[in-house]
Every structure is written in structure tokens, then in C-alpha cells.
């Protein structure tokens, strides 16, 4: 049953990956016209050099031929070279990936650590002042633009503190260029962007935990657990929370693609050298191969995230069957 389900999902995934990369290429092809990536960087290029460059990059061929060559390369694990700087796309992604994972993982961990107690307290004391306050904060969390929150944090913790001669937090990058890069330096750089990202996670997830906790606590098996004299602590945490966390797993799984696209705006605001920023900059420069590589990678993450969420869901809740 599960094997058949997985096989069908796998086949569907291939179609999705092909479709997404094809659309991306088609969009780039139509948008770039006769532009050759990187020619702006060197004004002394002669027309014949540009023509040679075009041929070298394969841009003189129709899109579908370029696409087949690209797919052929990908099947052999070769994502090609960046059209801007010539280094391999794989090395670019591997370069940026640790930074992005560092940022997103920190935000997710902070999000989970704060969202679970907030959600549980909201459910246990629902209707109370605490609950209302937390609801207001999380409703606000949905509405605040991430880039603006980033700007405000920079304004407060970098600009204003510095103006008053107080210790301030760095506003951009993942580490200091000069004698930086040690643990504390990285943490210092991480604080502001991770706060912005996790604030969004906290407001989303705490709401979900609250409502799913409320639902779980009204179930018969909770009443049974209470009836047999189990302590309230054990009822809430062993029987209640464990079941209430199932939706959260799905949500976290769905955040996987956020590794690339979700953090993009935050990465740009804070100059964080991650995958999202790479994709953003390279798309503006029409670096076909890099953009295709990142798109491929991002799409895989979307698929993997969905799949992971579904499978974990089944593991955690045996009532769910795959058809």
C-alpha cells in the first residue's frame, strides 16, 4: 500500500520537477531576449566576442535543445557552470546552503521552543487574559511585513544603539569580514534575522498548537485518562500534547521550501549570504544555469517537504491510511 503510494508520488514529482524547470527556463528565455549574461560586467567586449560567448553558453540554440542538454547534465549530477563567474552551480549552492540552513534552522528551533508552550498555555487557559494577549500578538505577527520588521530591528538595535554609543548588533552579513567568523561573531549576526523569521513561525505555529490542543483535550480518550485518575500533568503532556503536535509536524515539513524562498526577503534585508539571496541576485543577472539549479533544488525541497509531512503524519497518527 505504502509502496504503491510512494511510487505514484515519485512519478508525480518527476512531472512537477520537469514542469517547473521548463517554465523557469521558458520565462528566462522570453525575458532575456538577446542578452548574454555577464556582458555588462566587461564593457570592452566586441560584438564577435559576444557572439562567441552566446555560442559557448548554448544561448544561440532554441530553448528546448538547451533544456534537454541541461536535463541530461542534471541526470549525470552536473548542474553546469554559472554564466556570470564560471564556477560550478553546485559549488555556489553548497557555498550558500550552510548559511541558509543556519538561519532557517535557528528560526525553526526558536519557533518550536516558544510556540509550543505559548500554544499549550493558550489552550489550557483559553478565554483568559493571557490567552487574549497571546492571540493579539500572533494576529499582529501575521500582519507585520517581514522586511519592515527587519528594518525596524536594524533601526533600533544597530542604528540607535550605535548612535548612543551602546553595544549594537550587526545589521548585515553572516559574519564579520575582518577577524570574524568565530562562534560568538556568527551568533551576533544571527540574532536579528533569526528573530524576524522566528516571529512569523511563532505566530503561525502557536495558533495551530492552541486550536489542535483544544480539539484534542475535548476527545473521549482524554476524559478516559482523567477518569482513571491520571494526574493532570500527564494527561496534558502525554496524551494531549503528543496528539496535538501532529499538525505542527506538517507545518514544519511545509517550511522546508522556506529554506530557499521563505527566507529570501529576510536574507536580502539583512544581506545574509544564503540561497535565497543568491537566487535573487542571479535571477536579476539572467544567470540561467544558477537560477535553474536553485529552482531545481527549491522544487525538490517543496516535494520533499510535502512528502515528509505526509509520511510523518502517518507514522504519528496510525488512523491515517494511504490510498
Amino acid at each position: 500500500m505504502l509502496a504503491k503510494y510512494m511510487a505514484r508520488r515519485f512519478l508525480a514529482s518527476i512531472v512537477v520537477v520537469l514542469g517547473v524547470t521548463a517554465i523557469t527556463l521558458a520565462l528566462m528565455k522570453t525575458t532575456s531576449g538577446s542578452y548574454v549574461p555577464g556582458i555588462d560586467l566587461n564593457p570592452s567586449l566586441r560584438p564577435e566576442d559576444i557572439a562567441r560567448l552566446r555560442a559557448d553558453l548554448g544561448l544561440d540554440r532554441p530553448g528546448w535543445q538547451w533544456y534537454i542538454t541541461w536535463i541530461w547534465g542534471v541526470l549525470h549530477g552536473d548542474f553546469g557552470h554559472s554564466m556570470i563567474d564560471g564556477s560550478t552551480v553546485t559549488s555556489h549552492i553548497l557555498d550558500r546552503l550552510p548559511n541558509t540552513i543556519e538561519l532557517t534552522l535557528t528560526a525553526i528551533v526558536i519557533g518550536v521552543i516558544i510556540a509550543i508552550p505559548v500554544g499549550v498555555i493558550g489552550a489550557l487557559r483559553h478565554g483568559s487574559k493571557t490567552d487574549h494577549t497571546m492571540t493579539v500578538v500572533s494576529v499582529a505577527g501575521f500582519a507585520v511585513p517581514q522586511f519592515w520588521m527587519g528594518l525596524i530591528l536594524i533601526l533600533i538595535f544597530s542604528v540607535t544603539l550605535e548612535q548612543h554609543g551602546l553595544p549594537w548588533l550587526p545589521s548585515s552579513g553572516a559574519y564579520s569580514a575582518v577577524n570574524g567568523g568565530d562562534f560568538f561573531d556568527r551568533v551576533e549576526h544571527l540574532i536579528l534575522p533569526a528573530t524576524v523569521l522566528s516571529f512569523f513561525y511563532i505566530s503561525t505555529w502557536s495558533r495551530f498548537i492552541r486550536s489542535s490542543m483544544l480539539e484534542v483535550l475535548s476527545q473521549d480518550y482524554i476524559r478516559t485518562a482523567r477518569a482513571k485518575g491520571m494526574s493532570e500533568r500527564r494527561v496534558v503532556y502525554l496524551h494531549g500534547l503528543r496528539n496535538a503536535l501532529i499538525p505542527l509536524i506538517t507545518l514544519i515539513g511545509l517550511e522546508l521550501p522556506g529554506l530557499v524562498s521563505g527566507g529570501l526577503v529576510v536574507e536580502v534585508v539583512f544581506g545574509w549570504p544564503g540561497i535565497g539571496k543568491l537566487a535573487f541576485e542571479r535571477a536579476l543577472q539572467y544567470d540561467y544555469t544558477t537560477v535553474m539549479g536553485v529552482t531545481f533544488f527549491a522544487t525538490l525541497l517543496v516535494i520533499a517537504g510535502n512528502l515528509l509531512a505526509d509520511v510523518l503524519y502517518g507514522v504519528l497518527d496510525p488512523r491515517i491510511r494511504y490510498g
Partner: protein, 308 residues
């Protein structure tokens, strides 16, 4: 389900008693409106959005009567004026009046948001309804396409498309809607799948109604509540996306003001002109907050079972 109850008109024993003892017949729409009306926070949020909308529509009037500035009028002798005096909310790096630009920016931002919702709803409804109604291979093909659209990391699509089109407000709405319709299609398909099983649809078809008529006259009214809820919850999200695109320089292009692109340059003037960062952000925040609250109120009104 839709339309006033006909119970009283039937000559049935007990009908008279029923009408006298029960409250007046209420349609689903009336009941929903009553529930919405009695939600003070939801209504307040809705009214605030309405006010923003009216101010945006009347932007030329406001800049003529209230602020006495035009959004694009540059005054290099009055750059970075702090709030107060002739410039109520200060001026930016070109001496343009912030309040005027906020009002005109709201016109663009809200216009794009509502246009996007309109486009996404129309396209999503058409696709979702066709998929749900016809079923079979049409359903499979359309929904796989929807899956694919939703699997695209949206921000790439936005970046690439905005480079292609050099967005105006209308094309920007098209770009954002090109991803947003997928979710609507899923919602509508789900509703249609359940509604089309009901007897009244079979009755309609048995008297020879064409597919298009069944879809527009009989399925659409039943899907409408879902659409209204999706629309009111969607506006806030779309404003956030649009503001982020504008901020990244991919949306509405300067000198046309939008709340997002007013923040693009603000970062450079942190040290002396923090108000340039505050006001546009607060406007985005308040508008999105109100749309979310109003959207939730609408959802609760239409489907009280969902109320948490």
C-alpha cells in the same frame, strides 16, 4: 439553502403554527450578515478598510484640499523635513510630501491587492469548477497543473515575470494572481465535488440544463461563500507579497509611490530620517491586520461551525 423559505406558502397542516412560533424565515445570506454585524471587532476592521479604500479613491481630492502637495512634486529645498508644519508626516530625500505619497501609495497598493484577488478568484473558480464538475481526465490534468503551479517557488516566478513585464499596477496584479489562483482552484473543486452530488443538481440536469447553466446558475451560488471567505482572507496576504516585491524593486516602479517602494530607499536614511521607515510600514501593517481580522470575521459569519 439559498432564498427565503417557502414553508408558509404550502397549504400544510401545522404550517401556520410553525410560522407563528418560529422566527421570521431567514436566508443563509441574511443570517451570515446578522452574525457578521454582531462582531464588533470584525466590523470595525471592515469599516477601517472601507475608509482606507475611500481615501485611496479620493486621493486627488485629499492632495488638493488636505496636504496641498502632489505625490511626485519634488522640492529640493525641503528634503528630509521632519514631521510637522506644512509637511504633516515629513518629506523624503527629494522633498516629496510623505503624507501625500502615503495616500497615493495606498491607491496603488489597495488597487493592486483588490485586482489581484479578483483575477485569482475568477481564474481559480473557472479551473476548479471545470475540474470538479467534469471529473475524470480533465480533473486529473487540471489539478496536476495546479500542483505544479503551487510547487514553483513563487518568488522566482515573481522575479522573472517582473523583469519580463516591467510591472504596472495591472500587470503586477496579473503576476501575483498567476500563483494565487491555484489555492482557489483547489477550494472550489472541493466544494463542487460535494455540491454536485446533491439532488437539485441532478434535477436540474434531468430537465435538460446545459453544463454551463448548471455551473453558473446552480453551482456558483453554492460556492460563493467559500469564495467570499477566500477573498477576504486573501487581501492581507496579497498586500504583504506586493509590498515585499515593491520593496525588492520588482513591483511598482518609482516615481509612482506604493507603500512597499517607499521603504526601498528608507534604509539609506536611517541615521537622520527614521520617519521614512515608520509610516509606510505602519500603513501596511494596519491594513493587513484589518483585512485578516475582517476575513476571520467573515469566515466565522459564513461558517459558524469553524469558529474557534
Amino acid at each position: 439553502m439559498i432564498g427565503p423559505s417557502r414553508v408558509a406558502e404550502l397549504d400544510m397542516p401545522g404550517a401556520a403554527i410553525e410560522t407563528t412560533t418560529s422566527r421570521p424565515a431567514q436566508s443563509y445570506w441574511n443570517e451570515s450578515w446578522e452574525r457578521l454585524r454582531h462582531n464588533p471587532i470584525g466590523m470595525a476592521a471592515g469599516v477601517l478598510i472601507l475608509i482606507f479604500g475611500v481615501v485611496a479613491i479620493l486621493a486627488p481630492l485629499f492632495s488638493a484640499v488636505l496636504t496641498h502637495f502632489q505625490p511626485q512634486s519634488v522640492d529640493l529645498l525641503a528634503t528630509f523635513k521632519p514631521p510637522g508644519g506644512a509637511h504633516m508626516l515629513g518629506t523624503d530625500e527629494l522633498g516629496r510630501d510623505t503624507l501625500t505619497r502615503l495616500i497615493w501609495g495606498g491607491r496603488v497598493t489597495l488597487g493592486v491587492a483588490f485586482l489581484t484577488v479578483g483575477i485569482a478568484l475568477s481564474a481559480g473558480t473557472a479551473v476548479g469548477m471545470a475540474a470538479g464538475y467534469y471529473g475524470g481526465w480533465a480533473d486529473d490534468a487540471l489539478m496536476r497543473f495546479v500542483d505544479m503551479v503551487l510547487a514553483i517557488p513563487a518568488i522566482f516566478l515573481f522575479i522573472l515575470m517582473s523583469i519580463l513585464i516591467h510591472p504596472t499596477p495591472v500587470t503586477l496584479a496579473l503576476i501575483i494572481a498567476s500563483v494565487g489562483w491555484g489555492n482557489v482552484a483547489r477550494l472550489v473543486r472541493g466544494e463542487v465535488l460535494s455540491v454536485k452530488q446533491r439532488d437539485f443538481i441532478m434535477a436540474t440536469r434531468s430537465i435538460g440544463a446545459r453544463d454551463v447553466r448548471v455551473m453558473i446558475r446552480h453551482l456558483l451560488p453554492n460556492v460563493l461563500p467559500v469564495l467570499i471567505v477566500a477573498a477576504s482572507l486573501g487581501v492581507g496576504q496579497i498586500i504583504l507579497i506586493e509590498a515585499a516585491l515593491d520593496f525588492l524593486g520588482l513591483g511598482i516602479q518609482p516615481p509612482t509611490a506604493s507603500w512597499g517602494n517607499m521603504l526601498t530607499n528608507a534604509e539609506s536614511y536611517f541615521y537622520h530620517s527614521a520617519w521614512l521607515v515608520y509610516f509606510p510600514g505602519v500603513m501596511i501593517f494596519v491594513t493587513v491586520l484589518c483585512s485578516n481580522i475582517f476575513g476571520n470575521a467573515v469566515r466565522d459569519a459564513f461558517d459558524p461551525r469553524l469558529k474557534s
